[in-house]
Symmetry: C2
Subunit: 336 residues, 2 copies
């Protein structure tokens, strides 16, 4: 039946449920004889422990809750891969909630994890940090990727989008770009806003461009395509810093199709280093986050936090994106 309970096992083995439980869980204080009889009974009944019941009793679920926003495929799979791998090697399961909606829905998703997880991994760039902090269960160990949150059991890993953006622009300038445009991300996305801010500052200080060109975007490929049309019409832009890779790719493809040469006519740098970036022609230069590594690191911190309930130290961790130079922006024989 597959539905045998520990009581059935105990009965069949002729012992109490307590002994059965001990035997099954490998407690030392069980006579080899009983242990064997319980094991036999369990096997005979095809017994599988009911983990839900066990968690209720032990206050431990060996499960990590993961709440992610509606991510683009590449980014999503990478971060999940990192999380999953790290969790898996620690014998932890993943309860996943991918968000397609607003802040309220996110809050609901977080609540729905109550009593089913030992800790929470949240990534929610579009929700403002304060709303997020309020939605987080007070007592539950949580690691937020993206926004910076504080609180007793809550910590965060933040990406230094501002610095990354500055470095991207600086690289383009070093490649000889004199007029650099930016394709921005969603207006309600914290990461995107920081990247845009970094761009503006860098364009100002490096190129003396007080009012640099910024195209609106939404992280989707199509936004890059549209920016490309504007760039083609403009004829003066010779560099593009895109707030993420997909828009950069859309832009590059369109530029190339129109007969422009990337990087000679227009050099392009993206952000994220999604796997696709390496496969387009030319390969896309980008600010690499080590997405999978980020997910894995988040799990590590979460596990630490779960295992040391009193350790209140551990401030936010800062991740600085690394410039990865590829064909889309390499004009001179830059080694890397």
């Amino acid at each position: 039946m597959g539905t045998a309970t520990i009581r059935d096992v105990a009965r069949k083995a002729g012992v109490s449920v307590a002994s059965a439980s001990r035997a099954l869980n490998g407690h030392r204080s069980v006579t080899p004889a009983t242990r064997a009889r319980v094991a036999d009974a369990a096997r005979a009944l095809d017994y599988v422990p009911h983990l839900g019941a066990r968690s209720l009793s032990t206050q431990r679920s060996n499960t990590l809750g993961v709440v992610l926003p509606d991510l683009f495929g590449e980014f999503f799979s990478e971060i999940i891969r990192g999380i999953d791998y790290a969790a898996h090697r620690r014998g932890l399961q993943i309860l996943l909630s991918n968000m397609h909606g607003d802040a309220e829905e996110t809050a609901a998703a977080i609540r729905a994890m109550r009593g089913r997880v030992d800790g929470l991994l949240v990534m929610s760039p579009q929700i403002d940090a304060e709303a997020l902090a309020n939605a987080l269960p007070r007592g539950l160990p949580t690691v937020v990727m993206g926004s910076r949150v504080g609180g007793p059991r809550h910590t965060s890993i933040v990406i230094d989008n501002y610095e990354g953006a500055r470095e991207a622009v600086s690289h383009l300038a070093a490649q000889g770009c004199r007029r650099i445009a930016h394709i921005a991300g969603p207006a309600d996305n914290a990461d995107a806003l920081e990247r845009t801010r970094g761009f503006r500052d860098a364009a100002g200080s490096l190129l003396g461009d007080a009012a640099p060109i910024v195209f609106a975007g939404d992280f989707g490929e199509q936004a890059g395509v549209e920016a490309a049309h504007a760039i083609i019409a403009d004829r003066t832009i010779d560099g593009v810093f895109s707030a993420n890779d997909m828009m950069g790719i859309g832009c590059m493809v369109t530029l190339t199709a129109a007969g422009l040469d990337v990087p000679r006519d227009v050099a392009i740098v993206g952000f994220d280093d999604v796997p696709i970036a390496r496969y387009v022609t030319p390969a896309l230069s980008t600010m690499g986050l080590g997405i999978a590594a980020l997910g894995g690191r988040a799990v590590e911190r979460l596990v630490e936090s779960i295992e040391q309930p009193d350790d209140t130290s551990a401030g936010p961790e800062r991740l600085v994106p690394q410039l990865i130079v590829r064909g889309s922006s390499r004009r001179r024989g830059t080694a890397e």
Copy 2:
């Protein structure tokens, strides 16, 4: 504290836990007055129901267990996306177990879902169908993607890899390829074996090639690179059917880098239609599965099976991959 229980709420509202429960769950037999008092108490205490406890009591977790093999990123994210989307709109959560190991580990992962999920979604190509069938919990509604399994509560969605392979080869032949090679997948992967079988049969019947060339592979990009070297050395091969897209891409890139023209010198068709296929140059022709759709369909069937415990009908469902012609194999002005 975020740790208030229903008892706390009941006490604060001055009612019994039973009434609190009824009020919280919107049962009709509760006086508006009590309902309000309970609601107030809950809000004041920041009460969040403990879903683990609720499932134990109701025998319902509103959670779907998902067990996947170690998939390549693109494929993985697509299938999860499909599953997640379908589950999400039904208010179901996903308990994820990504497998990195062998059959025994897969069986363990499946067992670990006991008592935490209402149904199981399993994809496990490398494990043989029989072992898989044995590992599945008897009573739990399950949908297997890939292998064909039977049993009372178990059903499956299978991909017609054989037909897909035949169609790919047929297309290459129609494009004028006379000597078509195949890059095979892992020897322990059921899907891969079927694709290879389809290739052999088609090569035999369409080209009269009794001993067609088959390169060993493992679904990784590098295997495609190696096959490409052999193809370059061979000088007679003018068509390639790769058992998946990534190997096809690795092959194509290497061929192109060596100065060969794809599709003129060598035409290539892959399998899966991962998102990257559209972004390489030329874009990769492939046998499209509608990966996300597959995941979504699997959820649908699983939900049906969960909600109709007695409906034993529903045999395996067959999915036929569709040929998607792109630049890597279009030699003549084929419309599509």
